[in-house]
């Protein structure tokens, strides 16, 4: 009986991929370990190896096919002594049930609570910072970030990118793809695994007059380097009476990723946002990712730029401008509304927008604000909205204790108390290290339903 080869899942978030190349053809004999094909995901190009011995029966998906869903039968292998002659090809769709395939052999994609974080929601109104009538291009957040770095590197020789796997590997999450080719090894630098060391080196290089962009593979690993971010980069300008500048960007993915457990899933936004002397930016969509990263590279102050792995592959409209730079420190109203203000940042913005959609169907008109910059915090935009809606809900993919949500609640107490018709409410992750088990991960992370419930509760209080 022919063995079916199925499109493999090569990363926790992979749902489909491109069958880039077949390295075997029908009739070839293969043994375990032979490379059959190259498969491209949004993160990398991977080799697909044979596990069984036999002869390639049929190739069902031609090379160069995009968007092949995980689990789709891409070829068959016949065992020894079996007839390798092609049999009529089944329809190459993942959905087609395979009567002859035992149920438990069907690839089951590991579930993840992070799926509840990924919604299709987009801003309902245009960013006023972008001139009306500007043409748009579709870009992923990943491409937008890469373009931001490339444009700034073209414009200023002092800008360089340094980090683990940023050059030859093209970025652990492919964010720096192509930069080495364009700018060479002088300006795109692979480091050893040495976060404390290269964070310090970058900070020193900034003090010495360069403009480093330091990539952390994820911000979880920046814990090793937080001393330089806080003690060396953030404080030096003050301690030197304004003499010593430190124009550096520390960037990388932050927050929960899919099924990677507690040590690889933390939101550090409140940590860095508590430090005077730092700028902290956490964009949601691709236009903001691009415009704000360019601003971050240009500013004279040290910036912590928090990205989100789950958003890297999402596509958004990005202004087709030669130099799309956004102001740091300005929140953006993503959806105007009059009944309740829902504030969030980074991936939480999607949840807030999605919840607002649902609430609209139930007659509640929510205004959604994306903070974009967490330090300095644009409290004016939040307070103006609160004045209008008299209700405030904060959505944050992160722990509740000492969070951006806590901070906003205090801001509302201090400056918006008379505008509040109900207590400020927060929708945060559960106050536990992020668990691995799919069901527990789901339970721990924020989701749209929790936002909807919180908004309704807050509306019912007054």
């Amino acid at each position: 009986m022919a063995i079916e080869l199925k499109m493999p899942a090569l990363s926790p978030t992979m749902e489909e991929g491109t069958l880039a190349k077949w390295l075997v053809k029908e009739g070839d004999t293969v043994k375990s370990g032979d490379i059959l094909a190259e498969i491209e995901t949004d993160k990398a190009t991977m080799e697909f190896e044979a596990i069984d011995e036999g002869t390639i029966g049929q190739i069902l998906i031609a090379e160069g096919t995009d968007n092949v869903k995980v689990g789709t039968v891409i070829a068959t292998i016949t065992g020894e002594g079996e007839d390798a002659a092609p049999t009529p090809a089944p329809a190459p769709t993942a959905e087609a049930p395979k009567a002859d395939a035992p149920k438990d052999e069907a690839p089951r994609k590991a579930e993840s609570g992070t799926e509840q974080l990924i919604v299709k929601a987009k801003a309902a109104v245009a960013d006023p910072a972008i001139p009306e009538g500007t043409a748009m291009v579709r870009l992923t957040v990943r491409e937008a970030l890469r373009d931001a770095m490339a444009e700034e590197m073209r414009a200023d020789d002092r800008v360089f990118v340094m980090g683990e796997e940023v050059a030859e590997y093209q970025g652990a999450y492919k964010v720096t793809q192509g930069l080495l080719d364009e700018f060479g090894a002088r300006r795109v630098i692979d480091t050893p695994i040495t976060e404390y060391g290269f964070a310090g080196l970058g900070t020193g290089a900034a003090m010495g007059g360069l403009r480093p962009v330091i990539e952390f593979m994820t911000f979880n690993f920046a814990m090793q380097a937080i001393d330089h971010i806080v003690n060396s980069a953030a404080k030096t300008n003050y301690m030197s009476g304004g003499q010593m500048r430190c124009p550096i960007v520390f960037r990388g993915p932050n927050g929960a990723a899919s099924r990677v457990g507690a040590q690889h899933s933390q939101n550090y936004a409140p940590w860095y946002a508590s430090v005077p002397g730092l700028i902290v930016i956490a964009p949601y969509d691709a236009a903001d990712a691009k415009g704000l990263l360019k601003a971050a590279i240009r500013t004279e102050d040290p910036v912590v730029f928090l990205e989100n792995e789950l958003l890297y592959g999402r596509s958004f409209d990005v202004p087709d401008l030669p130099d799309h730079v956004l102001p740091i420190g300005q929140a953006r109203i993503m959806r105007p509304g009059k009944d309740v203000t829902v504030v969030s940042y980074s991936i939480g913005v999607g949840l807030a927008l999605e919840a607002a959609e649902q609430l609209a169907g139930e007659g509640i008109d929510a205004e959604v604000i994306d903070l974009r910059t967490l330090r300095p915090l644009d409290t004016a935009t939040v307070l103006a909205s609160l004045k209008k809606t008299n209700h405030l809900v904060v959505v944050e993919e992160g722990w509740p204790t000492c969070s951006i949500a806590s901070e906003l609640a205090m801001v509302a107490m201090e400056h918006g108390f008379d505008d509040l018709d109900a207590p400020v409410t927060r929708v945060c992750n559960e106050d536990v290290p992020l668990p691995y088990a799919a069901n527990l991960e789901k339970a721990a992370l924020v989701d749209v339903q929790r936002v909807v419930a919180a908004v309704k509760a807050v509306r019912n209080r007054g």
């Binding site: 040495t194 290269f198 310090g200 010495g208 060396s232 009476g241 003499q243 010593m244 005077p276």
Partner: protein, 356 residues
């Protein structure tokens, strides 16, 4: 001019040496004591004396309550900063150190007045009174601090070297740190990158034998600190840090290597601090006799004075220099005492450079 004579010293035996390599790799040449002109000898003497008198005065002002917090004096170690920095090119080479930083600033020609005024926390201080003893900088003099976190200056200095190389400006970074700091992990992270990328940096361990109250022997599995770069292929030199000519001579050999693009050098300067770690030091970890013995036998200023006397400089000259230096220090102390404190609004300035 006279070569440094061999002499009894409490610290190292040899004035400077490059250890025999464990392999056939090229090494920096063996350093020789610097052959100084009379004018250079006098310059070294003035600089070292300025540091000593300045630090003594800072100690007094601390005792009077005019200087607060931590104040780490450089007394005893003067020959290190003066010998090394005299070999640098102040227009292009950069210097960075830890919190024991007054001496390095004076050796780089920074005005004693603004340093002292920083110690007293005045608006005229080099950091406008907002840095204090441990956090002083002068971008103009390519002096990059002044850092309070033990070991941080090693990675930061490696970054300065990276910037020199990136720009191709021919500069070398000199990063000073202590024997205690040499046990920090980031030091080795920096060694690795510096050698891997052949960065123009001289790592200087000022081995004054103690990290606060912990002697080198109690903290270091390998107490020959010049060997700490070996597994990164960084050549090491051990130098008598109480002999300014040995220090200068070793600096020249190290600079030759680094400027030739051969990567970093690690220098261990054997020295001694006479005073407590900071002004509040119980000093229970060493005996008075130990300190006195070094002062008597190995003092760097006395040693240089002897060389100059041998070269025919008379007592009157020394008296003149001493008077001059005392006047400079007294002036800086007066300035630091009388200068006004920062305006209260300064509390909120310099947090960020730009407006958002």
């Amino acid at each position: 001019m006279a070569k440094a004579p061999a002499r009894a010293s409490a610290a190292p035996k040899k004035t400077a040496s490059t250890p025999t390599p464990a392999n056939n790799r090229e090494q920096p040449r063996d350093p020789v004591p610097y052959d100084a002109t009379p004018a250079e000898l006098e310059k070294f003497y003035r600089e070292m004396l300025l540091i000593r008198r300045f630090e003594e005065k800072a100690g007094q002002l601390y005792g009077l309550g005019l200087i607060g917090g931590f104040c780490h004096l450089y007394i005893g170690q003067e020959a290190v900063a003066v010998g090394l920095q005299s070999a640098l090119d102040g227009d292009k080479d950069s210097v960075i150190t830890g919190y024991r930083d007054h001496g390095h600033m004076l050796a780089y020609g920074i005005d004693p007045k603004v340093i002292m005024a920083e110690l007293t926390g005045r608006a005229a201080g080099i950091s406008r009174g907002k840095g204090g003893s441990m956090h002083m900088f002068s971008v103009e003099h390519k002096f990059y601090g002044g850092h309070g976190i033990v070991g941080a200056q090693v990675s930061l200095g490696t970054g300065l070297a990276f910037a020199h190389k990136y720009r191709g400006d021919g500069g070398v970074a000199m990063s000073y740190f202590g024997d205690g700091a040499s046990n920090q992990g980031q030091v080795y992270e920096s060694f690795n990158m510096a050698e891997l990328w052949k960065l123009p940096i001289i790592f200087v361990i000022e081995n004054n034998q103690y990290a606060m109250g912990t002697s080198v022997n109690r903290s270091s599995a390998e107490d020959q600190l010049y060997r700490r770069g070996e597994s990164f292929r960084i050549p090491g030199m051990q130098v008598d840090g109480m002999d300014v000519l040995a220090v200068r001579g070793a600096a020249e050999a190290a600079l030759e290597w680094v400027r030739a693009g051969k990567g970093p050098v690690l220098m261990e300067l054997k020295t001694y601090r006479y005073r407590g770690h900071s002004m509040s030091d119980p000093a229970k970890y060493r005996s008075r006799e130990e300190v006195q013995a070094v002062r008597d036998k190995s003092d760097a200023i006395e040693h240089l004075k002897k060389l100059m006397t041998d070269a025919g400089i008379g007592e009157d000259k020394f008296k003149d220099i001493d008077k001059e230096i005392r006047a400079i220090v007294a002036e800086s102390a007066d300035f630091a005492e009388s200068a006004p404190e920062p305006e209260l609004h300064e509390l909120y300035t310099d947090v960020l450079v730009e407006q958002y």
